[in-house]
Amino acid sequence: MGWLLADSWTVAKRHLLHIRSMPEKLSGVTIQPIVFVFMFAYIFGSAIAVPGGDYRQFLLPGVFVQSMATASASIMAGIVSDMASGVMDRFRSLPMARAAVLIGHTGANLVESVLGIVAMAVCGLIVGWRPELGLAPTLAAFGLLLLFGFAMSWVGVFAGLFLKSSEGAQGLGFVLIMPLTFVANTFVPTGGMPAILRAIANWNPTSAVVTACRQLFGGAVPAATAWPQVHPVLASLLWCAALVAAFLPLSVWRFRRAMAAR
């Protein structure tokens, strides 16, 4: 167990060192959400009516959550390229804890998410977003975002272990992330959606985390009756716990199998 942590840390450092040699790796958690903030704040926002009337206060939690979900696509691409390049074989021929290869990767992802949150928060403050309830709820919201990012990164790992090419990873990343973050209350209230989509959106884990953040940052939250929207913090915690409980062991199992089969 001690070695599992030590080995995971060594692997995590590898991925963090990558930031120095390819800073573009961070674009998914920095530039992309910043573009979304400006695009929605200044272009679409004028046409979207939200409760309380302050679209930027409504928008920022959505962009925060979306960027956490996007991080799972980059980890998926990383897993695919390690499998293809023989780096995974090298790790597997070492007397190290095998699960550390995956845990280290998701751990590094978490650190990248922290950097992304800082970048987005600064950008949000510039366009007029304000965390209004003080330090503790704000930090709780950031904590929840990181937990969601961590849970989603295990979904990315699991999906990555099935793919052969990084093109496939890009395609699947798009197909996975777009509906997850758009069929939700991320950018618009769900009230105007057709009934089926509204039901999906209200139960989407993304929506639970978004609503939880809206509450914790302070600001108007659309009235809701769906259970995850009434208890968003609890629903977010349950969703994250369920995702990790399902996809962490599945990933480790798949990792062992995917390698043995080649």
Partner: protein, 315 residues
């Protein structure tokens, strides 16, 4: 009898309908180099993957340094180094960071890991490039770094899967010298190759693999003897003089040379290469024939292969 460094018995592996290995037996004594020689798809890499615990055999057993590769995988991994076909190093780290990471994953303390990385960079001639990203390295430098990565824990047994495939001649010679140095220092080496000259130069023993089986094994000399000595190649300058050249070679050697219709090259097998070559030169001189090319060479892998597989079919 001392424990063999590597002992495999009856290894078999299928991938779907393909029978990748069909009963492979191997023994490698400590401190020696075994060359696994064979064409693409013969099963060489599958053997390496089983012996390095990356793949489970469907049947058969293998022990590395006395430990079973299936049941005692962790013990095996503590005693081996693997350098694969692709240089499995991280492109976006420096050479030094790659080696430090490996050393840490072998659970060396940080200071020792750094010292080990420095020593290996020095040993493999990468000291000056140690702080550059690997993506800026040449193919030869990558392979050397990959070899360094497999040596981090100074394992008693290393596996090199086609270590020089795709390298330029200079890098190939460098890598050969390093592998020889390892063996001199007592490391057991199992290397796979498609090149007879590589196996010949490095390996004390060679196992020829084809269709998932060991079709021949022995010292390089054993193998060459088994396929009948050396070859003399002669190329006539044009098709008009070809028949005359052919007659001259046949007269000199007392055996009809084979003609490769693609290249116009005549090849004859000789027991004593130097004597045969002199006889051919004399005969060509007497007939007043000029030739474009005249060479004495050892059998190529193709020829070893044809000879060995023909024998298989015959027996």
């Amino acid at each position: 009898m001392a424990t063999a460094a590597i002992r495999a018995e009856g290894l078999a592996k299928r991938f779907g309908k393909t029978r990748a290995l069909d009963g492979v037996d191997l023994v490698v004594e400590p401190g020696t180099i075994l060359g696994l020689l064979g064409p693409n798809g013969a099963g060489k890499t599958t053997i390496v993957r089983i012996l390095t615990t990356l793949l489970r055999p469907d049947a058969g057993t293998a022990r590395v340094d006395g430990f079973d590769v299936v049941r005692q995988g962790h013990e095996v991994r503590r005693r081996i180094g693997l350098a694969g076909q692709q240089a499995a190093v991280d492109e976006y780290l420096t050479g030094r960071a790659n080696l430090v990471m490996m050393a840490r994953l072998y659970h060396m303390p940080a200071a020792r890991a750094r010292a080990r990385a420095d020593a290996l960079l020095e040993q493999l001639g990468l000291a000056a490039a140690g702080d550059r990203l690997v993506r800026t390295y040449s193919g030869g430098m990558r392979r050397r770094l990959d070899l360094a990565a497999s040596l981090v824990a100074a394992p008693p047994i290393i596996f090199l899967d086609e270590p020089t495939t795709g390298l330029d001649p200079r890098s190939r010679l460098d890598l050969w010298a390093m592998i020889e140095g390892l063996a001199r220092a007592g490391t057991t080496v199992l290397l796979t190759t498609q090149y007879l000259d590589e196996a010949d130069r490095l390996a004390g023993r060679i196992a020829v693999i084809d269709h998932g089986r060991v079709v021949a094994s022995g010292t390089p000399d054993d193998l060459k003897r088994s396929v009948g000595g050396e070859r003399i190649d002669v190329r006539a300058p044009d098709t008009e003089t070809l028949p005359a050249v052919r007659r001259a070679v046949a007269a000199a050697l007392g055996t009809e040379p084979a003609l490769d219709p693609e290249t116009g090259r005549l090849t004859a097998q000789v027991a004593d290469g130097v004597a045969g070559l002199r006889a051919v030169v004399r005969e060509l001189d007497r007939a007043g024939l000029a030739v474009n090319d005249l060479a004495l060479r050892r059998p190529t892998l193709d020829e070893v292969f044809l000879a060995l597989t023909e024998r298989e079919v015959a027996s």
